[in-house]
């Protein structure tokens, strides 16, 4: 008899895909079988199966992602039934999906008094719940997760084994009779009610979540927030907020796209315009607040008992990663909190909340973590036969990347690798992802910087295992990450990359960071760059913005202004160090130019209390200026390969002295920088040397800079009468969190070539 063999590729395992096919087949009266294999899901269908492929697409389970469906006719003896068959083969590409926010069905159950999971903090099903954060080892099976100690009761087991049930093969399935339990310390019989009452009274609680502990407080209570800041020794770094959609709408006006992002199963923190009715201490001097919806039943049940938003910041010692163990929490977080809302399901893996935003140019990922990993990304055309490659990323926002079978797995945000626990997590992630992807690399990619811990780790592995080592220039990797995310084909030709970044080592031994690179996946040339200035005190320059202002003002011939701006600083000694080259490397860093301007405007000139504070505050100021002010950009002289900001300082100073608002000055600066780089890049396209422009580097986390750069590219291109395709990041971070993707692509491309 005639039948169809249907191959489904994508994220189709561990998301309820087989039972979905089983149900669909039964409805259609189709016989045959469905199974998992290394390439995805395979279906053999006999009978009225013609509509099956379309239905697979249109009705696919919420957590699945279909990358491709291939249908081939087969002949054979038609079975009498449709069955879920045993998995075949080994080495599936990815066999566990990201953690997902509580689905509407589970939510309905925990709110329905007639359900046995009424009020239960750990309800989940095939369409939602913990995955990666409870995984101890593969294959993804309950016995290999932190649910192993909880033996399923008969009711749960019946659901688990019934293909027609929403909980068929949902590994973390649980109910009040058999699953994890929540409690509060100090003890109280009604933990959630007690937690809510304490929060109401302005207390700070440690709450155990999915990927770690949060510190929570009433977001409306300025006293509670001040207390939290004081206890955490975190003076200004923005806190995230959690609230129901109704609550969020009281304080923000999310667009449809923003609501959709909030409601994504990944439930990221979404930056929304701050309307200013919550205490300013939540995010001092910032124009946005980071909001997320409750994403576990525990969060939902707690928020049900409160009528407003919570501050939810990661529970950690300053600089350390989030706490995940109960004992660890008691030990480390006790000085911060008044009570602990605990549970007994262990967290296998520490994963931060993802942070994202919606810009006029689409979504932007600032931190890629919970809910997004271990999701895979498709690779551009030409990478089908790429060798298995592992790339180890940067130093500050470590994340690694694996390439295999034409897919990339970009790992979760880990943090700064000099932090001992983060370093441990990095090494664990390396082992984990390697197992998860059944990865046997031929090529190892690292940054050119020999002192990145990740670079040394990769070099050591390559040496130990006899693998090819590729050292990749930092900004070339940023460029390739952007091209790759946008599926720019391997043979797509050269692209002009505007890379505005912090710092990265150049092959010339100087420190780069404000570049126009002309290149493809295999190579690049440095086409134009910001005129270098000394980084006075090396990495100290990244912490203390006045140092950059001093370097730039001296360079511009305005040392007297620097004297006037920073009378209390050891200027003579700093200048002497710069003159003698004593720990003052030359750098074209764009990030440090933002710091310099911020310092001149009085924005944390002494010290940034968190990374990016100066630039983010400057962006927030500029957002408040009348948009038409961008036409009055300062003069940043771009000629040939040199982009020189020296001339902008005099007019900037005049503006300041003439009482022009800092908002307007900030916008005029943003516009000037965007325009100078846009013109340089468009020039390369006009000369026929580049076919598109790509925007990457940490500075492009600024929605304003992204918007202005797009604007000036468009303006310059249309004045020249040309069309210029522009690529920027929407799924991976523009900062070092996406670096490893670019490294992996470059290393793989070199080995394909």
């Amino acid at each position: 008899m005639e039948g169809l063999r249907i191959r489904v590729r994508g994220q189709v395992q561990g998301v309820g895909f087989r039972p979905f096919v089983w149900l669909l087949a039964r409805e259609l009266g189709v016989t045959g079988r469905v199974l998992n294999d290394p390439e995805g899901v395979l279906i053999e269908a006999y009978g009225p199966a013609a509509t099956l492929p379309d239905l697979l697409r249109t009705k696919a389970p919420p957590l699945s992602r279909i990358d491709g469906i291939e249908v081939t006719p087969i002949t054979g003896e038609a079975p009498t039934d449709f069955v879920i068959a045993a998995s075949e083969g080994s080495g599936a590409e990815t066999r566990v999906t990201p953690d997902a926010a509580t689905c509407p069905d589970c939510l309905e159950e925990i709110h329905n008094p007639s359900e046995r999971r009424f009020g239960y903090a750990f309800a989940n099903c095939t369409h939602c719940g913990p995955r990666f954060t409870i995984l101890n080892a593969l294959p993804y099976d309950r016995s290999q997760t932190t649910m192993a100690p909880f033996a399923m009761c008969a009711d749960c087991a019946a659901e688990y084994t019934d293909p027609a049930d929403r909980r068929f093969h949902a590994q973390p399935v649980a109910c009040p009779a058999c699953g994890p339990k929540v409690w509060i310390e100090p003890h109280h019989d009604a933990p959630l009610a007690e937690a809510a009452a304490r929060l109401h009274h302005g207390e700070i609680l440690a709450i155990k979540g999915l990927g770690g502990f949060h510190l929570a407080g009433d977001a409306r209570n300025a006293g509670a927030i001040a207390l939290l800041r004081q206890r955490k020794m975190r003076p200004a770094k923005p806190f995230a907020l959690m609230g129901t959609l109704d609550t969020i709408r009281q304080y923000a006006a999310p667009s449809d796209a923003e609501v959709a992002l909030l409601q994504d199963p990944a439930a990221p923190i979404v930056l929304l315009a701050n309307r200013g009715s919550l205490p300013s201490e939540i995010a001092p001097n910032q124009s946005t607040l980071g909001w997320m919806l409750p994403y576990t039943p525990l969060h939902h049940l707690l928020l049900d008992l409160l009528d407003g938003p919570l501050v939810m910041t990661s529970g950690n010692l300053s600089g350390e990663p989030q706490v995940i163990g109960n004992e660890e929490a008691r030990e480390k977080l006790a000085p911060f909190v008044d009570a602990f809302l605990m549970h007994d399901r262990d967290i296998a893996r520490r994963i931060d909340d993802s942070v994202e935003r919606i810009t006029p140019h689409g979504p932007m990922v600032l931190r890629r973590a919970r809910g997004r990993v271990p999701g895979t990304l498709p690779l551009p055309k030409g990478f089908e036969d790429a060798p298995q490659t592992v790339a180890y990323g940067g130093q500050m926002k470590a994340a690694l990347c694996l390439i295999k079978n034409g897919q990339a797995l970009l790992g979760h945000h880990l943090g700064e690798l000099d932090e001992a626990l983060t370093w441990e997590a990095f090494q664990q992630a390396d082992r984990d992802y390697s197992d998860l992807f059944d990865h046997k690399p031929q090529v190892v990619a690292v940054d050119l910087h020999p002192d990145f811990r990740a670079s040394r780790h990769g070099a050591a592995r390559a040496e130990a295992e006899g693998l090819k080592l590729e050292e990749i220039q930092h900004h070339h990797a940023h460029l390739a990450a952007c091209m790759g995310e946008n599926l720019w084909p391997l043979d797509g030709g050269e692209v002009a990359g505007i890379i505005l970044d912090g710092v990265g080592l150049g092959p010339d031994g100087t420190v780069w960071g404000g570049e126009v690179l002309l290149g493809d996946y295999t190579g690049y040339e440095r086409a134009a760059w910001l005129r270098p200035a000394p980084l006075i005190g090396g990495d100290m320059a990244a912490k203390e913005p006045w140092r950059n202002a001093l370097a730039r003002l001296d360079q511009a011939g305005l040392p007297d202004w620097a004297d006037a701006l920073f009378p209390d600083k050891p200027l003579a000694m700093a200048r002497m160090a710069a003159e003698r080259g004593l720990n003052t490397p030359q750098s074209s860093s764009a990030g440090r130019l933002f710091d310099a301007v911020a310092a001149c405007l009085g924005i944390c000139p002494d010290r940034q209390s968190y990374e990016g504070e100066a630039a983010m505050t400057l962006e927030a100021l500029a957002q408040k200026a009348p948009p038409e002010e961008m036409a009055f950009y300062y003069d940043i002289n771009a000629s040939g390969s040199r982009i020189d900001p020296a001339k902008m300082w005099e007019p900037l100073r005049n503006d300041l002295e003439n009482g022009v608002s800092t908002e307007i000055i900030a916008l005029r600066f943003h516009s000037a920088l965007a325009r100078a780089f846009a013109c340089a890049a468009v020039g390369l396209v006009q000369q026929g040397r580049a076919r598109a422009i790509a925007l990457s580097g940490g500075c492009f986390q600024s929605a304003l800079l992204l918007d202005l750069t797009c604007h000036w590219i468009e303006a310059e291109a249309s004045s020249l009468g040309i069309k210029v395709p522009v690529m920027h990041h929407t799924k991976t971070p523009a900062n070092d969190g996406g670096l490893a993707l670019g490294q992996a692509l470059i290393a793989a491309a070199r080995h394909l070539g």
Partner: protein
């Protein structure tokens, strides 16, 4: 005395020629100071310490190049003696004899050489060592920078004393003898004309008396002279050798305010600044008080204090608990530090 015989005030290539000029230089500048009783070209060493059963000979060598050769708190001569004396001392040996070889750049002032030699004499006397043999070479301008000195030293390790990093055990405490980074900061200040308060003096000093005192008072497991690469490198070497982790406390690190200030401005980490009279040693926790007390009876141990301890953890990893409570990895210095904050 012999000084009269030298006519020029700077060293010329003739002083290295092997003839009379050279003999005059050696006699008037070197041997008259080191061995007023007359020079023997080869030392014939006799010491009763060597005849003790179980005693072992210790032998070390080091070359010294410092820019500038004179700096607040010392000069290259002082370092050349202290460095080798300390090399022997931190290995548990009592230093006895030194050799000194000089490479001198043409044009170097004789008066400078005399000052350097005099500070070597003083330092050797303090440490109770004799400079028993030496050598001099003169090279053309630019082939050396004023003067380079190589010293070698011989000492005796008494029976029953074994200092070795693999003896460090979990729970042992790390002790330093005083403030960190003074030498490195003093050199930076002297070199850079950095408009620093000239209060910062090199810590250059001999550590032999201190070592003898502390070894008598406690079971010193291991000790390192925290010279180039600073305390960070010394700790990393020891952690590597003992296969444990070492954790130090930021708040416990003894730092002079001025040194801290200079480091902050220049963006340098005092843990990596060179010292020339600072050691790190490990003793069992219950002997820490005795060790500290013994160290404090000596001049070089006045600022002795505990900075951390050996513990279970990633093998060879050195971390520092920071003010905020996190733990930062303190690596071995690899080349010049390039910025990493992206």
């Amino acid at each position: 005395m012999n000084m009269m015989r030298l006519k020029q005030d700077t060293v010329t290539l003739a002083h290295g020629g092997g003839g009379k000029a050279m003999r005059d230089l050696i006699e008037s500048v070197f041997t008259s100071v080191f061995q007023p009783d007359g020079m023997e070209d080869q030392a014939r060493l006799m010491d009763t310490a060597l005849q003790e059963p179980g005693a072992r000979l210790a032998f070390t060598t080091d070359s010294f190049v410092v820019d500038p050769v004179e700096f607040p708190g010392g000069d290259i001569g002082k370092i050349a003696v202290c460095g080798t004396v300390n090399d022997l001392a931190v290995g548990g040996a009592n230093p006895l004899w030194l050799s000194a070889a000089f490479i001198i750049e043409e044009g170097t002032e004789i008066a400078l050489l005399r000052r350097i030699v005099e500070s070597m004499r003083i330092e050797a006397e303090k440490a109770g060592v004799r400079i028993v043999t030496g050598d001099t070479k003169v090279v053309g301008r630019g082939s050396a920078d004023k003067v380079f000195i190589t010293t070698s030293g011989v000492g005796v390790i008494p029976a029953g004393r074994t200092l070795s990093a693999d003896r460090i055990q979990e729970g042992d405490v790390a002790i330093v003898n005083g403030v960190l980074g003074d030498h490195g900061a003093a050199i930076l200040a002297a070199r850079g004309d950095m408009m620093l308060s000239t209060d910062i003096q090199s810590d250059c000093q001999g550590l032999d008396h201190l070592m003898q005192a502390v070894c008598a008072a406690a079971d010193v497991r291991a000790c390192r002279d925290a010279t180039r690469g600073g305390v960070a490198s010394a700790l990393n070497e020891m952690a590597e050798a003992c296969g444990l982790a070492i954790e130090i406390e930021e708040t416990a690190l003894p730092l002079r305010t001025e040194v801290k200030g200079v480091c902050e401005i220049l963006g340098l980490d005092p843990l990596y600044l060179a010292n020339e009279g600072t050691l790190v040693l490990f003793v069992p926790e219950d002997q820490a008080e005795a060790a500290l007390a013994a160290m404090k009876t000596t001049e070089a141990g006045q600022g002795a204090c505990i900075i951390g301890k050996a513990k279970k953890g990633p093998k060879g990893q050195v971390t520092m608990r920071t003010l905020f409570g996190g733990a930062r990895i303190v690596d071995m210095l690899v080349g010049e530090q390039l910025p990493r904050i992206c």
